[in-house]
């Protein structure tokens, strides 16, 4: 494949879902079978993306192919010169892989949804929305500039809004959609400011140009602080979209959407966009920015994991686990483990999609029952679902032989290395704690759902294994959770093709004084044998630290994961511990976790009601004060008019009275002067003569 054709095919891939969207929106009503065409279109896109990825990884690995065009031309702008806004696309390894992941999951979800959504009144509309989502997501993936990134970013938000609120008859669904959009917007504003900082200085949105300028030492507003600010602000976009603390609150609520949507958007792809964004701008992140990112990621991972421990809704558990895992990825970026961040993104996409689709299968079977306390013993009824679910759970828990182990282990090693190099030891501690908690709550989920005795006999009896269109995607995804697709070595991915051949950490462009020492240069890259080996190396120190951290991290994580699994089994499978007593003992902690740290309540009490209250106050202010000043007596008249019931005339008379108030005493006394008694008038004349004489006397 030539460069041009890769670009062209990528653009075709981008546009195909849009075509499906347009077709379904306009003709969906007339041709109810059109959803099949949509699915077909997405599969075509999948095939094309496989071709692109293949072509890319084989022929142009490590290169960046790009294409751009002028979108808006401002002409010769005073004090700037010729200014135009360029848009375009770029394809490199990361992009190509991302294309593949998105298309794959999208295609599988399409397939899955055919069965899952059957009978819904807005069946075709649903596929249309999936189309627009896929389009937007692909847009994020292949863009080469920040503006398009932002545009598709928002479009993704839109499609998420539409899909979360798909069952808008339910108030909870439409609330969740709204919440998702608004919370995302908070992050987006930050991101937009960050973008503006860069644009204001560089007059371009294109990544490569900006990177180039920075590498030449041309910093925004000539200050490293501004670069840090820009980095953190852009990261805010990721905080929103990837549901990082404190903007993570929308994601659990987003589970109100149809489950395949949760799988596609809120587990595998869209939420990963934030991480993808960080990966894109990784090279301009300064030390301070990275530290902030790492902390946010760590906090998110921890908070979400603690919440996931106690949730009873199958999808909520998965949602918090997603948040937690996203926290991992962000943490990875923060500690400089660029490749592992992306690696975890990919592995997580597969196993989390699988988990969600599996839960969807369960929910489907249980007639939309989502509370795990009413499930149990489904293993026998739905074996395929169970095994795929189990594989994915193993993957996420970090059990060797599965993809999650590889990626998570890398991240943990990264944090450990980071800790050793910078002294921020809290981050690895959090990382390992979360790993244990993950294993625990995932197995808790599996055990309660699939093992043991059915708790709701009636529903259990009706449950059955899903049709092949639903299970096939499960199978595919669970398969992809096995190590072999990424590396031949089941315990270390370092030597695998994924990390070794496909993904390499780019060179940071941040000036030395503003970045971590260990991020500095790959000058020793070729001198150290390690570099050759792993390909994820930044500097000697970091490589060495990573290397040293690898085995400790691996063992530690293994132990912790095992511990988590063990406790889960003790608690739920073998029931060695009286849970009720335990929860009673830890009541406050339990409640704290169950109620999601009361973050929603906090937001409600502060920002939301604050806004609503100030809106009401301002509205009052507008109506009574501003308008009142303008026609002050209109409000008085309004009051009186209510008494007289003679509203209409009065309002207008009120305006007369406005003049009365305005002219005040003078106006009224004018009127009083006109007494109707002619002699009074003459008295006025006499006095007027005297007054005039007084004022206009010529001395």
């Amino acid at each position: 494949m030539s460069e041009i054709s890769i670009i062209n095919i990528s653009i075709i891939i981008l546009l195909l879902p849009l075509v499906s969207f347009v077709l379904l929106i306009f003709f969906g009503k007339k041709f109810p079978k059109l959803y099949l065409a949509a699915t077909g279109v997405v599969f075509v896109a999948l095939v094309l993306s496989i071709a692109v990825t293949f072509g890319m990884l084989t022929s142009y690995s490590g290169e960046t192919l790009s294409f751009s065009f002028t979108w808006i031309d401002f002409g010769n702008v005073p004090s700037i010169g010729f200014l135009s806004i360029e848009l375009g696309f770029e394809i490199n390894n990361v992009t190509a892989l991302m294309l593949f992941v998105v298309n794959l999951i999208s295609a599988l979800v399409h397939l899955y949804s055919i069965e899952y959504m059957r009978g819904d009144i807005r069946y075709t509309r649903y596929f249309a929305y999936l189309g627009i989502f896929t389009f937007s997501m692909l847009g994020i993936v292949i863009t080469n500039n920040l503006l398009m990134m932002y545009i598709f970013w928002e479009l993704v938000g839109l499609s998420s809004y539409l899909l979360i609120g798909f069952w808008f008859e339910k108030d909870s669904a439409s609330d969740a959609g709204k919440k998702a959009f608004l919370v995302n917007r908070v992050g987006d504003i930050g991101m937009w400011i960050g973008i503006l900082i860069l644009f204001t200085h560089y007059k371009t949105f294109t990544f490569s140009t900006i990177f180039e300028q920075i590498s030449l030492g041309n910093l925004p507003f000539d200050s490293a602080a501004a670069l840090t600010t820009a980095g953190i602000l852009i990261f805010l976009g990721a905080v929103g979209k990837s549901a990082q603390f404190p903007l993570h609150v929308w994601l659990p609520d987003a589970m109100e959407g149809p489950t395949p949507v949760s799988a596609l958007i809120h587990a595998a792809t869209m939420v990963a966009a934030g991480v993808y964004l960080l990966v894109k701008i990784f090279v301009i992140l300064t030390a301070d920015a990275m530290l902030v990112i790492a902390v946010v990621g760590g906090v998110t991972a921890f908070v979400a994991a603690t919440i996931a421990l106690t949730q009873n809704d199958i999808k909520k558990v998965l949602a918090y686990s997603t948040v937690s895992q996203l926290g991992y990825m962000v943490l990875a970026v923060g500690v400089g483990a660029y490749a592992f961040a992306f690696f975890h993104l990919v592995t997580h996409a597969f196993f989390k999609a699988c988990l969600f689709l599996g839960s969807g299968s369960v929910i489907h079977a249980m007639h939309h029952e989502q509370d795990i306390r009413y499930m149990g013993g489904l293993r026998k009824k739905m074996p395929l679902t169970y095994y795929t679910f189990l594989i994915s759970t193993l993957a996420i828990s970090g059990v060797p032989l599965f993809s999650g182990f590889l990626s998570k282990d890398g991240i943990l090693a990264g944090t450990l290395a980071f800790g050793s190099l910078t002294g921020h030891w809290l981050l690895p501690i959090i990382g390992f704690t979360v790993a244990a908690m993950t294993a625990f709550y995932m197995f808790r989920l599996v055990i309660i759902t699939f093992h043991g005795e059915p708790r709701n006999k009636e529903k259990y009896d009706h449950a059955h294994e899903s049709k092949w269109v639903m299970t096939a995607p499960l199978a595919v995804l669970s398969l992809l959770s096995i190590f072999i697709f990424y590396t031949p070595n089941p315990i270390s991915a370092d030597a695998g093709w994924f990390l070794n051949k496909w993904i390499s950490t780019p060179q940071t462009v941040v000036p030395a004084e503003a970045s971590f020492d260990f991020m500095q240069s790959g000058m020793n890259k070729h001198e150290t044998g390690l570099a050759q080996e792993s390909g994820i190396v930044h500097s000697v120190q970091y490589t060495e630290a990573m290397h040293h951290a690898h085995y400790p991290a691996m063992f530690l994580s293994l132990i912790l994961a095992g511990l988590g699994i063990l406790i889960a089994f003790i608690f739920y499978q073998w029931k060695k511990v009286d849970l009720e007593k335990l929860t009673e003992k830890l009541n406050s902690l339990y409640k704290f976790s169950l109620n999601k740290w009361y973050i929603d309540e906090f937001y409600h009490a502060t920002f939301i009601s604050g806004t609503i209250r100030s809106a009401d106050a301002l509205s009052w202010f507008d109506y009574y004060i501003i308008d009142g000043i303008v026609n002050a007596s209109a409000s008085i008249t309004r009051f009186v008019s209510r008494l007289s019931g003679w509203f209409d005339t009065f309002i207008v008379d009120g305006l007369v009275n406005f003049s009365a108030l305005f002219s005040g005493f003078i106006g009224l006394s004018f009127r009083r002067l006109q007494t109707g008694k002619v002699q009074t008038y003459i008295v006025f004349v006499v006095f007027a003569v005297l007054v005039l004489l007084l004022f206009f006397r010529p001395f």
Partner: protein, 165 residues
Amino acid sequence: MSIYDVIFYLFAILTIGSGYLVVTSKNIVHSAFYLLFTLFGVAGLYVLLAADFIAIVQLMVYVGGILILLLFGVMLTNKVTDVKIRTGTIHIIPAVIGTGLLMGVIVSMMLRTNWKSEPGELPFTTTYGLGRILLTDYVLVFELLAMLLLIALIGAASIARRDNE
């Protein structure tokens, strides 16, 4: 103090005194008679100012015409049987202040002003001279006055006439 002065003061006191009574007397008929004295006093002043013809006109027109007219007015607008034809007053306080100030201002102004004063004698009898300028220099005014009288005639008749409506 010449006899001229004495006569002046007599007339002046007559004029002002009766003038005061005109505007203060409660009885309308009395007021009308006081007005007669005032007008008479003014006529006397005219004579002192060598305006013999004007003095006569003053007596004829004012006393013989206007005053009678006013008396008729009084009679026609009051019941004749009512012996005490009285009238009240209003605006006393503002009027006293206003006219008092006005009078003060005018009198002091009159006294302070350096009026044009040239010695000169008017002809002993002014009738000829007046007649002459009325039909030369002031002919337009004279004719206009004629029209004015006509209009006054028509107007007064038009308003006061008792229509059989």
